[in-house]
């Protein structure tokens, strides 16, 4: 996997960062202008964010024009599209967990999340081993955090708690 970068080409990568920076800078500028700017002596809530957003836009434009040489990192292996897809799946599952946590309760949603994560690790959709591990991890986390450390995790509105 080393040598040729798989996902992002080396000319595109720095410019992509610059474009994101310009966008963030512009959004920040527009949002800051909605706030009072104050005077030079009595700066308003929008003044410092406005200056920073303008600086960010300018700097990102400079990066776009002159991206500079990319520093080679010793540990710069890239997971490629497959790797990025795995990360996206994991992120989606965490998002789903956050949305379902209050309704399904900690044990059910944690078991589901753990199953998904272990299944991704094994690269199998159906796996008894992943299910067993998921149940054990969720139970261990419940015992450690909820029972032993008294962390208040939701029990689930769906079950009437």
């Amino acid at each position: 996997m080393t040598g040729k970068p798989s996902g992002l080409t080396e000319t595109l990568r720095p410019r992509l960062g610059a474009v994101a920076g310009v966008l963030c800078g512009l959004i920040g500028t527009l949002a800051s202008l909605q706030l009072p700017l104050g005077t030079s002596r009595l700066l308003g809530p929008g003044a410092v964010p406005l200056l920073l957003s303008l600086a960010m836009t300018g700097l990102s434009l400079a990066l776009f024009v002159k991206p500079g040489a990319e520093e080679a990192d010793a540990d710069e292996e890239d997971g490629g599209l497959h790797g990025a897809a795995m990360v996206a799946l994991v992120a989606l599952m965490i998002g789903a967990f956050a949305l379902l946590l209050t309704r399904l309760g900690f044990i059910v949603s944690a078991t589901a999340l753990m199953y998904g994560l272990y299944a991704i690790g094994e690269e199998k959709l159906v796996s008894a081993k992943a299910l067993l591990r998921a149940v054990l991890t969720a139970l261990a986390a419940y015992l450690l955090f909820v029972v032993a450390l008294s962390v208040n995790m939701p029990a689930g509105t769906l079950w009437g708690y």
Binding site: M1, G7, L8, R13, L16, G17, A20, C24, G28, A31, S40, R41, L43, P45, G46, V48, P49, L52, S53, A55, M56, L59, S60, A62, L63, K66, G68, E70, E71, D73, A74, D75, E77, G79, G83, A84, V87, V90, A91, I94, G95, F97, A98, L101, T102, A110, L113, M114, L117, I120, G121, R133, A134, T137, A138, A141, F145, V151, N152, M153
Partner: protein
């Protein structure tokens, strides 16, 4: 001396010993995992300390820091995967020693070097901080502002890679810190009407997302490409020759590392790199460097620990974090309603001296308890990452949720995790972002107060010699490298002409 004794009384309380030990133990556990270093470990474990009193919390975090650094060195030596930049140098000779069947000796020398350096560092912090505090007590908004700006300048001068990218990260971090209520008027800014954002983003969620989850995401990507093969540890006892060759590098590393740690932006990583270079110059066996020279492990390991200790001084005495780890510590202290700086040492001496004494206790624990546990850490290295990462993610999610018992915190954790991952993929250094995020509030507050106090900013500055000196020093740091670059270009041009 009295203060230090008082600190030991605090640090040696049975409860605090338990926190220090559990911090060191869990810190090692996370630090041993390949790709995860002290910053990620502290970020992941911060929520655990929220319910504790400030002294115990900070003692536990110090334990996590030392534990994770130690764990990171172990992984660097055994599998050649550094948890963080500060262990990169250890890989060079440590892994070679391991390949020669001397992993145990390398790990032991690293631990003992760290212990000696930690001891020197803890004593030196006590000696240096007090005079610094007496000086800093006279600081007003202008001086604080210049000091914060100096911190950024040094970070930029020492930043790795592209300076423009580092500046973008600083601007992004400062902007993120401005979400929530305005520091002076209390007016909500950039909250998008979301009530959870009224108090701004919490430092724990931001740090845990960018450093912890972002780091895990990056490792998830490498499931397929990364194969790990830990080499056998062998005897933990270094030979007489090892001891002889390590003594001076450890001593030099301790002093050098501490001095480098004092610089904002310095700290453990820079200290370890410089120590390696110095030892290569001093050694009688330069040909062995890169091939398993014990000096190449002893010096940098001592230096990175001393550098870590040194970097606590600007944090504790001035409230100025010089690197991501101290930025996280600052965040943790703020969460506990403690603002580091000269006033803290005068008003809450038990925290200041307690932390220093606990650094020492933490180091003792690492040598006495963690070294014998090396077998367990090696076993942990054999468990594939794909089986461990799920538990790490669950751990962070529970930590984020428990901050406010609100699932929105989990979504924010995910948001910052994705941001951290994206920034890594685009090769942005995330350290300046987190530093700027933590310092954003104080910078804006001091800037706006200075502007209020000053009718004419230039005139006002002329009447503040300390602020002026700090700013002049910052300017010098920017200008001097430019001159050396111009000189280099001139020399190259002359050389080309002569050809």
């Amino acid at each position: 001396m009295e203060g230090l004794l008082g600190g030991f009384i605090v640090a040696l309380k049975p409860m605090n010993l338990v926190f220090c030990f559990s911090g060191a133990l869990i810190g090692t556990l996370i630090g041993v995992l390949p790709g995860l270093g002290p910053t990620a470990a502290i970020a992941m474990l911060l929520p655990l300390t929220i319910g504790l009193d400030p002294v115990s919390a900070i003692i536990m975090i110090a334990g996590i820091y030392y534990g994770a650094s130690y764990g990171g060195s172990t992984t660097a030596i055994l599998v050649k995967i550094p948890g963080e930049a500060q262990s990169v140098v250890t890989c060079l000779d440590g892994y070679k020693m391991a390949q020669q069947g001397r992993a145990g000796a390398a790990i032991a020398i690293a631990a003992i070097g760290s212990f000696v350096a930690g001891t020197v560092g803890a004593l030196a912090i006590g000696l240096i901080s007090m005079p610094l505090v007496e000086f800093a007590i006279r600081f007003g908004p202008a001086e604080n502002l210049s000091l914060l700006l100096l911190g950024f300048i040094v970070i930029l001068v020492l930043a790795k890679g592209n300076v423009v990218k580092s500046l973008i990260m600083i601007a992004a971090g400062l902007l993120l810190s401005m979400v929530g209520q305005d520091v002076i008027t209390g007016q909500p800014r950039f909250t998008l009407g979301i009530p959870e954002l009224t108090d701004g983003f919490g430092v724990v969620v931001v740090a845990m997302g960018i450093f912890g989850l972002g780091e895990v995401f990056e490792n998830v990507e490498k499931f397929r490409t990364r194969s790990m093969q830990a080499v056998p540890v062998g005897s933990l006892m270094p030979t007489r020759e090892d001891w002889k060759r390590s003594a001076m590098p450890i001593a030099r590393g301790s002093v050098l590392g501490f001095l480098i740690g004092l610089l904002p932006g310095g700290g453990a990583t820079l200290a370890s790199f410089i120590s390696y270079g110095v030892e290569k110059k001093f050694t009688k066996h330069p040909e062995q460097f890169g091939n398993g020279a014990v000096e190449g492990v002893a010096g940098p390991e001592a230096a990175n620990n001393a550098g870590a200790a040194g970097s606590f001084i600007p944090l504790l005495a001035l409230g100025l974090p010089g690197n991501p780890v101290t930025a996280l510590l600052l965040g943790a202290l703020i969460v506990h309603n403690v603002t580091p700086g000269p006033l803290m040492i005068q008003e809450r001496p038990e925290i200041f001296w307690g932390v220093i004494a606990s650094m020492y206790v933490g180091n003792v624990m690492l040598v006495l308890l963690n070294l014998p546990l090396i077998g367990i850490w090696v076993q942990l290295l054999k468990v594939p990452y794909r089986a461990l990462y799920a538990a790490l993610i669950l751990f962070m999610i529970i930590g984020a949720y428990s901050l406010n018992n609100n699932p929105v915190e989990v979504l924010l954790l995910l948001l910052f995790g994705v941001l951290g991952y994206g920034l890594r993929k685009l090769r942005f250094d995330t350290a300046p972002l987190i530093l700027a995020f933590v310092l954003g509030g104080p910078i804006e507050f001091n800037l706006r107060q200075t502007m209020m106090l000053a009718r004419d900013p230039l005139d006002y500055l002329m009447g503040r010699p300390i602020a002026l000196t700090i700013l002049a020093f910052g300017l010098l740091l920017i200008v001097l490298p430019m001159f050396s670059k111009v000189r280099q270009k001139l020399m190259v041009a002359r050389a080309v002409n002569e050809l």
